[in-house]
Subunit: 472 residues, 2 copies
């Protein structure tokens, strides 16, 4: 299959919205949203009732839709889907997003209907995303087959593949709150035709995609997934949340997107062999994405930690070391830089606990400049009552913890992640101090886990590159 | 030791603040804070300079401080601490909080100073909290030896024991954001005298304490800790975050609060034998506390899950089952209640995925009323664009997901936890719908983990009760 076959899903010339609802409910808001995004001239509504809707003419059948039209968004009831796909094929439309539910996920009857739809699609050579999904989002041209909030249209390097429509939708609702911005998002649903491998292949070649986040319940084709994941991981990180780990979870996936989630151990092996980063939880997926979408490749696994709290430094150390990082001795030069103005109670070592001294910025800068340190984790913490007093006196977090955004800019090649624990307003303030290129976490363990994942990924990728990328 | 010896730490009749700073910096804000909390008549400032400070007279020595005074808060430099403890003893003050740093945590010299202080304290029979700590908070009488934000003084059932002062302080800064409110908080620092066992014993008998959250780097006395934890866990849950799991982490604790963090496997055994709930991470500690401080004992491990997202239902199921819970078949009556109005695509089973149907409230109520279900986990999720439309039409989350607070009130004996994933405003809204007695998590896995921990704790506690509580 050529990935160009999928282009109309993301960059359609004209879109027929088949079964455009006349009443408020699922799908009603799609035409107004597309209108507000500048798509007025390129959308055609289809509904047998005809007339007008959202200020646009309504065509009574797909056959009547004028050119150009290369994508259909299907919102009709399940039973009508095979017939509608036939009309789409006859009209010469090559791509369809079927959002209707009531297929493989509801059992044998729905599966038969899905098979019938797939047969019709194949006859006409139509590529189909869905059914039981919300389709596609492309932030670059503000095209979307699902109503999502404005914030989700901020373009960024993250692309999403989700089996579940609701899940994909809700990810788009929340990611911007973590400064994660999206290039493309696809929800696959019951996978009548297009599956995660097809989309991954498309995203490999998509320059706007820097990181892929994937939610998978079960692979449509395990062997192909292995090949495609390996090819993808060689050029961009793929982070996967795979559910259905347990028997009960697996049973639940069958009735959700009609997929068999398979043996979990096999997936673990598949992911680790292909450089795919498996997330343990939904939070883990988001936390990894934040470091992968902002930080460069680390040179090695040597982590430097600077902290204003001994306890949280210990927690970060425990997690980092448990996940394959090491905390080397600091270089003499770094030690000298920090010790010069350090109070007597400060131990200049790694993790570097500067406590309530004013040495945080000096220490952070020294770690970022230390050639023996490959990555830096900064734990910024201060009692909020103290912080508020400093703020009242006109100070900023950057006066205490350093101009983190600026320090990062001066050391762009060294991964840096910040952990800010405490009052919500403090965390928010530190997120500003850290700027757009440094992720700020609210707990030490995920900060360390994310950096460790970054190291593991690049170790795999560099290994592949050295092997000439010829291994199967 | 009698726990009554510790009472002046929490309920002093009069407090001498020794070394009250004349300039802005650590400790400067303590007298004004105590004044604003109604302690004006019960605090005495001590500083050799004398004069007046914060509108209060300053006594030149501890000896001059008038009655009543049964607690001293010590803010003098480390080297002066043994001498000050001697003055405190001579003045007949029985309790001291030493906040000064520069003791065991900085190495041999500091340790010698600490030993000297301990010797002086023993001579006079003074009980000492610290050094290198921020002491004590009691929300009931608004007494505190540390400046913390007003929100942290909202009384609640959670008491905190933290080795690290900063850590304890920052916990107080953030817990209220999770609707976790505090009874008492103690930071132990370098443990010259009072250790976690002493405080635990005090909290066992403290009626205002319902749940203990503890951060530990290393046990001061392993054997005693085992006895005290077991005694504590029999009457109230103790949640522990123990750091220093790894070699590097252990090395870091030594220079932080001067403790040896010991072998991690031994701690695992110690905690599981004593019914102590060990948190894996800082987030885990907070997440457990939320369910332990609000939910009753479950009758068993049979979990019912209702969800508006299949994917998140699967994630919750995976985590629940991996952590010892089971998802039983729903009773015929529950199935009937839900199936009556369910659309054809809905599978009435457990986890119960109601999708975008209007059946969430019916399903939640049915699960709460099903005698075969011991605990309920509700995953509320809805695309934010849809939610915002409903809100604009005057609906509330309760119209869609049920009056969760009211349903809980009607079923007070069944643990319930909610997971709301998505846009921050949606999560906030659902937190209100859930009311004060139902915790709302932002991810399915921690929700399931917290309920599983609740089950594990009560299994241990009921087992102890059946055994007559006579086992050592």
């Amino acid at each position: 299959m050529s990935t160009s076959e999928l282009r109309p899903f993301f960059e359609p010339e004209g879109v027929a919205i088949v079964g455009a609802p006349r009443n408020i409910g699922f799908g009603y808001g799609i035409p107004p949203m597309l209108k507000s995004h500048g798509w007025t001239e390129r959308i055609r509504l289809v509904n047998p009732v005809g007339g007008e809707l959202h200020g646009l003419p309504v065509y009574k059948s797909v056959a009547e839709v004028p050119d150009p039209v290369d994508l259909a968004v299907v919102l009709v009831p399940a039973a009508a889907v095979p017939g509608v796909l036939d009309e789409i094929g006859r009209r010469g439309i090559g791509n369809a997003v079927v959002e209707s539910a009531g297929f493989a996920e509801i059992g044998d009857e729905g599966r038969a209907l899905q098979d019938e739809g797939a047969r019709v699609a194949r006859t006409h050579g139509i590529r189909v995303i869905g059914p039981n999904c919300v389709g596609v989002v492309n932030t670059a041209n503000r095209f979307s087959t699902v109503e999502i909030i404005e914030e989700a249209f901020t373009p960024g390097p993250v692309s999403i593949i989700a089996q579940s429509g609701v899940f994909g939708n809700v990810m788009l609702d929340m990611l911007h709150e973590f400064k994660l911005y999206v290039a493309k998002a696809v929800t696959l649903g019951d996978r009548m035709d297009v599956n995660e491998c097809d989309i991954l292949e498309y995203l490999i070649e998509d320059d706007s995609t820097g990181v892929v986040m994937m939610y998978l319940e079960g692979a449509a084709d395990g062997k192909r997934l292995r090949r495609v994941l390996k090819r993808a991981s060689r050029v961009k990180p793929v982070l996967v949340l795979k559910s259905g780990r347990t028997g009960a979870g697996k049973a639940a996936t069958a009735s959700h997107t009609g997929s068999l989630s398979g043996e979990d151990g096999l997936y673990d092996a598949l992911f680790s062999q292909t450089g795919t980063m498996r997330a343990a939880t939904l939070e883990d997926l988001v936390e990894m994405a934040r470091v992968f979408s902002t930080q460069p490749a680390p040179k090695g696994n040597k982590l430097g930690i600077v902290t204003s709290s001994g306890s949280l430094g210990v927690m970060a150390t425990d997690t980092a070391v448990s996940n394959g990082l090491v905390l080397p001795r600091l270089s003499d030069e770094t030690m000298k830089k920090v010790a010069k103005e350090a109070p007597t109670w400060m131990n200049v070592k790694n993790p570097l606990d500067v406590g309530p001294s004013a040495q945080f910025a000096t220490a952070l800068k020294a770690l970022l400049g230390d050639p023996g340190i490959d990555m830096v984790l900064a734990v910024t913490i201060i009692p909020y009552a103290v912080f508020r007093e400093l703020m009242d006196m006109g100070m900023k977090g950057s006066a205490w913890f350093g101009d983190i955004a600026g320090l990062k800019e001066a050391a762009p090649d060294k991964p840096l992640a910040v952990c800010a624990v405490g009052h919500g307003d403090f965390v928010k303030h530190m997120t500003e101090v850290a700027g757009p290129d440094v992720p700020v976490y609210v707990s030490p363990e995920p900060t360390a886990r994310a950096l460790a994942a970054l190291y593991r990924y690049w170790t795999w990728r560099n290994g592949e590159a050295e092997a000439g990328g010829v291994s199967a």
